[in-house]
Amino acid sequence: MSVYIQGISCISPQRSFLSEGLSGEPVNYDTPWLSCIEPVYKEHINPTLARRLSRYIKMGVTTALTALKDAGIEMPQAVITGTGLGSTEDNEKILLAMYENQERMINPTHFIQSTHNTISSQIAIMLKCHDYNNTYVHRGFSFESALLDGMLLIAEGKSETALVGGVDAVTEGHYINYARINRWRANTNGSLRMITDKGAGVVPGEGSAHFLIGKEKSPNTCACIKSLELIYKPASSAQVIERCNRMLAENGLTPADIDLVISGNNGDTTNDFFYQEVSGQLFPDKATAYFKHLCGEYETAGAFALWLAASILKTHQIPDGILQRGVVASPLKNILIYNHHRGDQHSLYLLTAVL
């Protein structure tokens, strides 16, 4: 089920948008959550359409359209989105209106955008794309489900390309709600120190990343996704280790063949042990990079990691501030991403360079 990544785009709390890889020094945040550095959306979305779109939809549509441009393609053959929080912003507005106006005078715009498939829908409307369209909303599997679906479409021969994305945006309401159940960790010493300054809980972030994946290599192809594994609530890291070994073996590889591990550590003492144990067992001496100090913890952070990996393979450069240990082999051929969300939804991605 391998696919080529033909185009990429990412809006994140770092300087990632329309950039060949992360540019400049990593940006540090001392706010409760990491917020995206956002573009001027009017430059990418027709203002008449953009005017009513809530923030997360604008983020998603923008990375979708720019990923297509990056791939040099006008029309994808499928549009699939993953989002963990979905239309939280619009939902909150409806709830407020229902409460303030006793269920009267509800703005239809917010309801229309309250179904979580709005990003996939808006992309299709803007492109007039009648092809396969889907949306997955499943916490730390949201983006991975979308990607798996895209890879499946290509393997089935149904589509030659698929525009796949992962989008999440924090709202104040969401932060306040989950603060009540101690989901968060205070960003006391700045986001760049979240992993080293361990503690219980996570520092939240957000982002939007899209990928035009395809059956064929194209001049813009930057990487090949060889495999994607999803593991739900593994009883221990042993299960993750076993699946990782199996995935590598299916691709004729062993852990020794991995040149760079991108690991989703976020400093959460509750769940980071998975990363430590998997890394300790399989990749003790391998070059390892972290990414969550750049984007924060959120349901579709895997999409940021994939963007990072793809841009590393595209530019042949490791950006500043991500490598934790080891020396990256040159030429860089095989990258493994291991990420989980709250210890419940684990994913493994195997990428290879396209030479």
């Binding site: 549009v79 963990g84 929080l85 979905g86 939902n91 409806i94 709830l95 229902m98 409460y99 006793q102 269920e103 009267r104 509800i106 703005n107 239809p108 309801f111 229309i112 955008q113 309250s114 179904t115 979580h116 498939n117 709005t118 996939s120 829908s121 808006q122 299709a124 409307i125 492109l127 007039k128 794309c129 009648h130 092809d131 396969y132 369209n133 889907n134 949306t135 997955y136 909303v137 499943h138 916490r139 599997f141 949201s142 489900s145 679906d149 499946l152 393997a155 089935e156 306040i176 709600n177 989950y178 009540r180 159940i181 999803l230 739900y232 609530k233 419940d344």
Partner: protein, 397 residues
């Protein structure tokens, strides 16, 4: 073209019955679930709805689960349907890697969220439910209660969600990624989406009348439907009884407007066409279409035109069963697929209740009386906000 996919079990819970037997009895007796609002607390009591006639406390009692668990109405309804589906397929082990669970919903835990909203910052009781708000909360609650540990995900494409869950399950089995998938959708009624649909002015103050010239909109319903999909090999190996075969599926996007279908129904046309192609069938092979048929101006003309264009001279009997169950939104695709399995097994065409007047723009009228007819291939359509169109074909085995 990959392994065949069989339906070996179904579980359903809606306003017309708890379980397959009660549901079939309602369909055969023309008994609708649409009635004045009884359970949902809302100011809009002039809209009829198809509620499951149990309060949350009564639903909890039916499940036998602990009241200490944070269970939303969504999860309670889904639990009951899922339990039946697993029992009907004779499934005892669910935890292996090759068994998947794909659920679908849109409102998720909104029933609790809207109840606690004004006091969300201070309510102690709300603390228990905070992590049930999102769409996946019910999927994982059910996965953990029933022991699913393989592939798990949640589709969320509004009114086509349930059908998309089925379609993904079928495709994963066909491609050899999984041997068995339990798939379906659910939705409970909430003030949130009742008010939302009302803001679009597409709710009927009378029970809906799909495909009627004087139709005036949707009647909302609630419910859950789950189907057990198994590969050919699993069926043979375990000697499973087969209810029917999932032979075709198609997904397309209207790409026209966030909430309306295009007048010529291009999305519906493409989804149905794709389903026929996957099934290796011609339009003339379809014996019955369970239409999406919501009763809105937009859907019924769009779907009707698409059916005429695709089926030409061979428009099969068509009906919408939403006058029975109401529009169960994210559950519609799977609930109506289960109604299609019943249609196939019993050889019955279900009527399109409340229909009186021919639509002047269409040249077919829906089935209006329960009709005995041997059926081989039936099609079920589900079209959602955002222009998500999905069509499923089920065939007699």
């Amino acid at each position: 073209m990959g392994t065949r996919v069989f339906i070996t079990g179904t579980g359903i819970f809606s306003s017309i019955g708890r379980g397959v037997d009660e549901t079939l009895a309602s369909m055969v007796n023309g008994k609708t679930g649409i009635a004045p609002i009884r359970i949902l607390e809302t100011v809009h009591r002039d809209f009829p709805v198809a509620e499951i006639p149990f309060t949350d406390a009564e639903l909890l009692a039916l499940t036998g689960l602990s009241k200490d668990l944070p269970l939303t109405r969504t999860t309670l309804i889904a639990y009951i349907a899922l339990k039946e589906a697993l029992a009907s397929a004779g499934i005892q082990q669910t935890g292996d890697e090759r068994t998947g669970f794909i659920s679908a919903t849109t409102v998720g835990g909104m029933d609790k969220k809207e109840t606690f909203y004004p006091e969300a910052a201070t309510s102690q009781e709300w603390l228990k439910y905070i992590d049930t708000q999102d769409v996946a909360a019910h999927t994982e609650a059910l996965a953990d209660l029933f022991g699913f540990r393989g592939f798990i995900t949640t589709a969320s494409t509004a009114c086509s969600s349930g059908a998309n869950a089925l379609m993904l399950g079928a495709r994963m089995i066909k491609q050899g990624l999984l041997d068995r998938v339990v798939a379906g959708g659910n939705e409970c009624l909430t003030r949130f989406h009742l008010n939302g649909f009302n803001s679009l002015m597409i709710l009927d103050k009378e029970p809906c009348k799909p495909f009627d010239q004087h139709r005036a909109g949707i009647t909302l319903g609630e419910g859950a439907g789950y189907l057990v999909l198994e590969s050919e090999e699993m069926v043979r190996k375990e000697g499973k009884k087969v209810l029917c075969e999932l032979t075709g599926y198609g997904n397309s996007c209207e790409a026209f407007h966030p909430t309306a279908s295009s007048p010529d129904g291009v999305g519906a046309y493409l989804a149905m066409q794709e389903a026929l192609k996957i099934a290796g069938l011609q339009p003339a092979d379809i014996d019955y279409i369970n239409a999406h048929g919501t009763g809105t101006d937009s859907n019924d003309i769009s779907e009707g035109m698409a059916i005429q264009r695709l089926f030409g001279e061979h428009v099969p009997p068509v009906s919408s069963t939403k006058p029975f169950t109401g529009h169960t939104t994210s559950a519609a695709g799977s609930i109506e697929a289960i109604l299609c399995t019943l249609a196939l097994q019993e050889g019955l065409l279900f009527p399109n209740l409340n229909w009186k007047t021919q639509m002047t723009d269409l040249n077919f009228a829906p089935v209006t009386k329960l009709t005995k007819q041997a059926l081989k291939h039936v099609m079920s359509n589900s079209f959602g906000f955002g222009g998500n169109n999905t069509s499923i074909i089920l065939s007699k085995y």
